[in-house]
Symmetry: C2
Subunit: 456 residues, 2 copies
């Protein structure tokens, strides 16, 4: 493998330029920004790196997936097939004034590369392409069949992915799957996550007047803002208990292995306290209990509140409408469309029939078996590349559409990538380091090599 | 007076052009938009209409008042002095997309004139100037001394007016005062209001994190949005009772005359239902009870809610900060700075020491004696101009700095103007009709005439 690693290192500038091309193209799925060009840019990059690529239409007028296929250079009919799940869409960039650089003008400062999507997830795409290019240049091709599935709606909740998998899932089947990202944790240990929480994203809105009124009428007219507040108030209590009837139904204790894995994770609490500028966590939790809360508990988060006048000074207005955005992170036994039904019943039961719910995102949770051979292969190769045993997270606190591949298409899933907690994903000044990029590319290459050997 | 009325009518186009000049100049005090030029435009207009005018600096770096003085053409030393209180600042224009015309490009459509401030309060300034110009042209001058006090911060809560009155109040003293506006109600009856509620405007904010976090951390990090909601929830119950300790202290029953006046007011409920697109009012009120609620009850209004992501789709963010704007309309016995102290104590008592309060506006309430001779003069002249007896409102549900003139400077206050409920003040498509403008100008002229005769 040394010639592969050398190639990755000596071509790093070229790989970074390819990544910059991808980052330079906006692709904010939530706001549908940049999708006139972004699928084409993604497809062209796959083709330039040796893939047969296709812009795949997504049901329900979703933003397209870009899919690439590369056959093994020898015996592709019998060679095993590896799928890389990635996404080329990115998060919105606001608040823009907190960025030190233009989010869509990639900028290198020392070892760090800045730009929206630089880490999540364009950086992972770039690292995987760097590994594949090394095989092509050094050995005339890849040793297994490779599928690149580059989704365009991950950051807006992958809402159409289940329909796409239902429609064309067979095309994307593989013998094993490497997920979106992975990499190192705060201690620079390699880490793997073997599952993801699900998410239900909703917009809640209530309109009480046909238009905003002068606030002197607040004495007699109903208030949308007060009403929304009272509706929200019924959803969660001050002790973080979610009060929707049946919300916790069916949730079981995590497996002993999953609990043991979380107990073995490093204590990131001091770093979180520092990163988020807080003096403590919900319910006064710390240590293992804090990690268990993060890993195993569902959430009811308010992601946005919006009503009336929000600029400088005072505008004495009684707002006609009030809106909230919420996301519920879900654990393996929960399903988003079941939760949205229960939320509707909950609001109705409390007399809030007029609070409208719009589903903005729905992703099933998923958790992989900690003992699968695929997990072992990825863990062993991680140890070779990073020089340390990886720490295992039964599931991340975040979300991705693992369920559709792991459960619906039935392939084992593990993670590898360029990630690090300092990358500020979803936030201003998103970045990666060149070092993380190189490690991620090398790990991808070694996974390809061992997978071709062991799954052949 | 016929030559005066004829002059007002025959010069209406010129008067409208003057009003348009004023409306064309933005002057949004809340957002400090347009104040590089607006005081100069206001001053020049007063001078062009015969006033000695001055841009008056306002304490605490407030936005300037523009003040004009015109001596009576005969015996100014012994002539009585009349003050017109007006304001040349306007409300913000958002939501801009609901305007059919540019708010700062005055537009006439049939009998209606559209633009921000066209009614509130630039239209009233324009009508008064039309009346004064008629006296100058037809009689060589006005029969009493006239002061025009044009405030620049009324729409942002007149927060510096008490300090200005303390500093220079003697300059603005007069024997009687006509307030900001007045005019006709929904039945086209002339109406007068003899008081105004006070207001306390506050910004409430709470910050829990140093920056926004990915919403997966909602499982363990404290939420500013939830916390603000819980704080707000303690302020008012579902039956419209304001729960701040001592909020209602000292409030007495309105006088029998005030109650009788409210009972005699027309029933505007059907119009309100239609205007605001509602099927009913708070607590199921109607009839006299509804009018009493509007006139005599203080409020706790949420004018704005602001946290996290508010654009299209879903952004899975845990917002670092949450903000609300509130305005409390106050009745005669209440004082805004007393209420803000009680609000602080209330939040502290409920454990919300971290919810910060910023005072955005503070105006004392005021209510005039229904039986004063000045009220009688204005009522009688209204009946002559409009052909009907005016209806009397002990106080409007809205706010203005009447206290500083009526109480601090001790002058009797009554109202007259160009207003009509169809003018959409504070809302998109603010407008007046030419008819209302002419009626308001003629009433101003007759008030000047009778005041000079009876107070001489």
């Amino acid at each position: 493998m040394n010639e592969i690693y050398s190639h990755i290192e000596s071509h790093v500038d070229e790989s970074i330029q390819q990544l910059f091309e991808l980052v330079r193209q906006p692709s904010i799925s939530t706001q549908k920004v940049g999708f006139d060009k972004a699928p084409g840019v993604m497809k062209e990059l796959l083709e330039r790196n040796g893939f047969d690529a296709e812009i795949v239409p997504v049901p329900n007028d979703g933003l397209p997936t870009v899919y690439g296929y590369m056959a093994a250079s020898e015996n592709p009919e019998t060679a095993p097939t590896l799928l890389f799940y990635c996404h080329y869409d990115v998060q919105p960039v606001d608040p823009l004034d907190l960025w030190d650089t233009d989010p869509f003008e990639p900028t290198q400062v020392g070892d760090r590369l800045y730009g929206r999507g630089m880490s999540d997830d364009k950086g992972n795409i770039g690292a995987r392409l760097a590994a594949i290019r090394a095989f092509i240049d050094e050995r005339g091709g890849v040793p297994c069949n490779i599928k690149m599935f580059c989704e365009g709606e991950e950051e807006s909740g992958s809402i159409n992915l289940p329909d796409l998998i239902a429609e064309r899932g067979d095309d994307f089947k593989a013998d094993a799957c490497i997920w979106e990202g992975g990499g190192r944790n705060l201690n620079d240990d390699p880490f793997m996550y073997l599952g993801l929480k699900g998410v239900l994203g909703v917009g809640l809105s209530v309109r009480m007047l046909s238009g905003d009124a002068h606030s002197s009428y607040a004495a007699i007219l109903p208030s949308a803002a007060w009403r929304l507040l009272r509706a929200l108030q019924t959803i969660k209590d001050e002790d973080e208990n979610i009060l929707i009837d049946g919300f916790y139904d069916g949730i079981t204790e995590p497996s002993p292995e999953a609990i043991a894995a979380v107990e073995a994770l490093p204590d990131d609490a001091p770093e979180w306290l520092d990163t988020f500028g807080v003096s403590g966590f919900v319910k006064g939790l710390d240590g293992e209990d804090l990690r268990k809360q993060l890993t195993f508990q569902p959430t009811a988060n308010i992601a946005g509140l919006d009503s009336g006048y929000q600029d400088a000074g005072l505008k004495t207005v009684l707002p006609a409408e009030a809106k909230a955005k919420m996301d519920f992170r879900l654990v393996p036994e929960q399903r988003p469309y079941d939760i949205v039904e229960k939320l509707r019943k909950h609001l109705d039961k409390h007399g809030f029939e007029d609070v409208e719910i719009e589903v903005l995102g729905a992703v099933n949770p998923y958790r992989t078996d900690l003992n699968s051979p695929w997990v072992q292969l990825v863990a062993e190769t991680a140890e070779e590349i990073y020089g340390r045993k990886p720490v295992m997270t039964p599931n991340m606190a975040g979300t991705g559409p693992m369920f559709d591949f792991g459960d619906t298409l039935g392939m084992p899933i593990a993670t590898s990538g360029i990630d690090h907690p300092s990358h500020k994903i979803h936030a201003p000044n998103e970045n990666i380091t060149v070092e993380d990029f190189l490690l991620g590319a090398k790990h991808a290459a070694l996974i390809i090599e061992r997978f071709a050997r062991d799954w052949g």
